[in-house]
Amino acid sequence: MEGFTKITNNQIAKLVEIPILSYTILRDKIIADFKKRQLRCIGFFGVEESIDTVRLFVLLSEDSKHLIHISSAHLDKNSSYESITKEISSFHMYERDFYEEFGIKIDGHPWLKGVNFRTGRANEESCMENYPFFKMDGESLHEVAVGPIHAGVIEPGHFRFLCNGEQVYHLEIQLGYQHRNIENLFLERNLKFMPHLAESIAGDTVIGHNLACLNLIEALTQTIIPDRAILIRTIALEMERAAIHLADLSALANDIGYLMGSSVFGVTRTIIINTLLLICGNRFGRGLMRPGGCVFDIHKALTEKIRTNLSKVKEDTIRMAETMFKSHTVASRFENTGILTKEEAISIGAVGMTARASSYNVDARHSHPFGFYKKLLLGEKTHKKGDVHSRAYLRYEEIIESIEIVFTLLNELEDKKTGTQIMTKIKDKFQPSSLVVSIVEGWRGEIIHCAITNNEGDLLKYKIKDPSLTNWFALALAVRNNGISDFPLCNKSFNLSYCGNDL
């Protein structure tokens, strides 16, 4: 693509090599090529260059060629720019986020309001108290406000329903309660501390976010880590995927009052996270991976233990899931509830299992392979319908697939060729004036960490994109025209992260 630099996942791009276009030309190029080459926006953020100017970076992914196209433009803070969202709606979250950070006016954006009410946002007056909710008028319409404090153990977030009786016309989701300014905390810390921050981005994706951060650190220090460490990291990532999917199946069953499924899936999920506990001393995999490799090895006896535990999990999951998905009362709740069509998924830029359940195949393990996935042959799993049943069934299939992957990787681990080293020395200085993108397919979808260094090798910008940022809108679309009493079910079928969005 003309006017763009292309790199692959975890490859360094020198800042000087990234073209600087005028915004109008950049916009035209994006609009011209977006549909034709089936691109996806994976990053749209700015770096402050002086008091008045911001350098805007745009990252586009070309999945079929495993490439990331990068370009940039200088924007003046005091003028305004034509929105890309008008032409390509999947930019809308990115432009909102960009607008919130720098306050640069984006003309023609239909929905320009706060995303997470970040610290140091340009317009301090826009806050959660005066959030401009979408309004509808009509005699039979009424609003239902839920949250930010919810019943049950979930994170804070505000949901505003516009209903006609039991039917939902529109749902607006207002987040920001979990904002911790985590992107800027990265800039203040050295690389030894970065994994600790990454592990606390989202409590249910500890391994996913940590792996994205580590891949980025290792790319920026140009470290090649031992094969054994890569294997252990991949095992942990797949175990996390299986564990959270099981927890969500349990929660889905609980929401429709299918108590047997709720308790059996809950128990099997515990087996997996307890196995992670055996590996690294933490049920969520905190402290397992650090820059340069892994801290804990999986030795012979542990390999056997993991095999027995996961075989049990696999057997129980298949038995329970087959019973549950065959039950007619469950089917009547799951099927045709909360439909997200493929067109909708594409138009909002949905990623991960949410997109795959609507037959939009986005999987970073295929499109931007990292670690051991370069060698692994994965099946493509998608579902057509995009309803709760598709998402639930996809989770079930992914659990089984993840367990199979772990079995394969355990065999590799026992292979003599793999070696015994799990840690390697790492430089403590980053490559100067570089940009690197690290993509990891967490259980929710692709996690993107992107870092830019200055000419001394210090971090200038650290940008995190959790799959939740774009996928929250999928929930809002899915509940439209559904009964409001089906909302908890739809919500659980996506199970998006509040703090992953709020950062």
């Binding site: 609003e143 239902v144 406000a145 009052g257 047997m260 308790s263 009547s332 709740r333 908890p488």
Partner: protein, 308 residues
Amino acid sequence: MSVLLWLIQLILIPLLSPLCIGIVRKIKAKFQNRTGASVLQPYRDLWKLFQKDEVISKDASWIFKFAPYFIYSITVILGASIPIFSTIFYPNLLSDILVVIYLIALGTFFLALAGMDSGSAFGGFGSSREMTVAALTEGGLMFSILTLAFAAHSTNLFVIAKNISSLSFFSFAPIILAFGAFIITMLSETSRFPFDNPATHLELTMIHEAMILEYSGKRLALIEWAAANKFLIFLSLGANLFFPWGMSLTNCLSDTLLALFLFAVKILILCVFVAVLESSIAKFRFFRLPDLLFTSFILSIISISLII
């Protein structure tokens, strides 16, 4: 002796109803491989709630404050006027079918009013759903018991119980059909599966729980207790109207004790039934509930036409 029997009749329902809830919960816990709380936990919960202070919305009117006492008293009156262990109370004026069914409806009406009273969105939802369901349930409930009235040639519940127990075994087919209809309305009236999930924490899906969301402390205790009473009242109606064998016809002590024992066994069987049902199916989508209630109504119609 009859004073003692009256006393038992009066306090048995409020006394045992928390235990029934406890038993159902315990069985459900066992189905989920959990130990579960003791069957006496509902008593402890009530005791705890009675000790607590209340928070009442400043927008609430007298209905909100008055409704729990009213609803609770209705269940106590109902408990005293239905056949439990003995048929000797038949001169009781409140034991007519119409009186019982519409006393139940009166309780529901006040609960729905109280739900809307504090003006919260959830309360409104709960009340609107409850009234939708209650309106459809009424037909099934009325007609299923009417079947028995036709079979027993009386609308007095005690007389029905007495006459049904002397019917021949072969005339039971329509009564079994009517029992099927009754069970559906029972699950609906007592907010059990597949109509409502009594254990849910999700405000948006609740029916009964949404209406009482604003209550706390002593009034919440009364409402919870009333709900438990209503559950046991329906179990007793099911057990003693459709399968009335073993009720004592005299006021002699040994008969009474035997009748009480058989009553406990019948109630236990029904509790197990409810618990097994709740452990094995999912809650229905709200818009599918009318189908189920129409089924109940049609079953009753069929059984009535079989008798007439």
